[in-house]
Symmetry: C2
Subunit: 244 residues, 2 copies
């Protein structure tokens, strides 16, 4: 069995631990501040710290364990392999495309797409093999395209959640609880599982309903930022669905 160390006990670290345990691998969870328990004995060292800390932690790992045979990989979408490349002979990236929260259970880790990059073909092979133990969807992707993928996921995940927040804010004004939106939120997500987003588009912008668009912009008159978000997203929808 592979000896795996996970550095960082944040959302990603905790979930990769659970995912590995699910396939009968018992990883060692290591505190990123102390690095207590870290040695060159691990086959794989997974860096699960915030993007800004990756380069520095790589430096500290290298100082602590030296040039060893371990493969060291970070798990970030937006950080290049270059951030750790100078410190290790074998290094790479294992990027799981999912939004992790400690309290949110993930039922099936095998569905999560994993994106792999290695500094050599051999390293890539090792990382691919380990990711394949967890996931049925493992792909090789270089740093440049991984950054684009991460940007796409910021729109489809982080910004989507921000829109849920905005929905909640607007409902507060008429004393309606956020729960009311849950069925429509689930259906909106479920729809694009079986169709394309373009085919699923509905609403006043899609219908070019100028009266409603104007009415909504008026209702947001005292909320400059939301008004601007409304305008830009409506214009995007109109451009996207033209010639239909």
């Amino acid at each position: 069995m592979k000896k795996i160390a996970i550095i960082g006990k944040g959302n990603v670290g905790i979930h990769l631990e659970r995912a590995l345990k699910g396939v009968n691998i018992e990883p060692t969870l290591i505190d990123s501040r102390s690095l207590d328990g870290l040695s060159g004995d691990f086959d794989l060292i997974l860096i699960c710290v915030s993007d800004t800390a990756i380069s520095q932690i790589a430096h500290r790992i290298a100082e602590k364990i030296g040039q060893v045979s371990s493969v060291v990989a970070h798990t970030s979408g937006s950080v290049s392999i270059e951030a750790i490349k100078n410190h290790f002979k074998k290094c790479g990236v294992v990027y799981p495309l999912q939004t992790f929260s400690k309290t949110m259970e993930i039922k099936d880790y095998s569905e999560i797409p994993f994106f792999i990059e290695g500094n050599t073909e051999q390293t890539e092979k090792i990382l691919k093999l380990i990711a394949s133990l967890i996931s049925d969807n493992v792909f090789v992707l270089d740093s440049k395209n991984r950054k684009k993928l991460h940007l796409a996921s910021v729109f489809a995940c982080n910004f989507v959640n921000a829109l849920y927040c905005i929905g909640e804010d607007l409902l507060k004004e008429c004393n309606i609880p956020f729960e009311i939106l849950r069925p429509i939120i689930m259906t909106t997500a479920e729809k694009v599982i079986s169709s394309t987003p373009k085919n699923c588009q509905t609403g006043p912008a899609k219908r070019r309903d100028e009266e409603i668009l104007t009415q909504h912009l008026k209702m947001l008159a005292d909320k400059k930022e939301l008004r601007e978000i409304y305008r830009l997203l409506s214009e995007y929808i109109i451009a996207k669905t033209k010639n239909e």
Copy 2:
């Protein structure tokens, strides 16, 4: 059993027909152009046409059937009860908060929140009763607040889908199929079913990761509108999650 007519064979009409059939009511689906088959014999006439057509169709219904005992209700979130009030003695609104597509099956209509408004208490009671046959979540809401609710749902549904589209657009550039985003899309929706949107927020803006935010804005340098959407939604998240 209630005799119900549904005017309009669009997404809402088709789904209300299915929902009523599900509770053993066989409504009559009526073409909105011809109004063939419409008479004063119906207990309830549901107007399921586009927002801009509601006022005109109400006029045509009144011309065709006169002042009868039927309750006439439209089904729009953003159109006031005023649009049909002058034409009928008993009228109101039955607004199902859901995104309907003809091809998308709705498993459980009883989960859909219905918002009711009536021109009199008696009409409101009738409409509430009929909506309660379909749904376990029926609320009375006036036109002004219904408009706010609809606006909230444009953000949480129509604009969310637009963000899925943007995700797809960005992935096309690195030849990654949209399917890759589906697990993260489902988890993002599922998360807010058991928590609040604010608690679910993740991503670079939430983490105040200035490096990634700058990198993403640079990547969108040649996409002015997306860059602006990125900036505004990130600023919203930063403001929303401050003092944490």
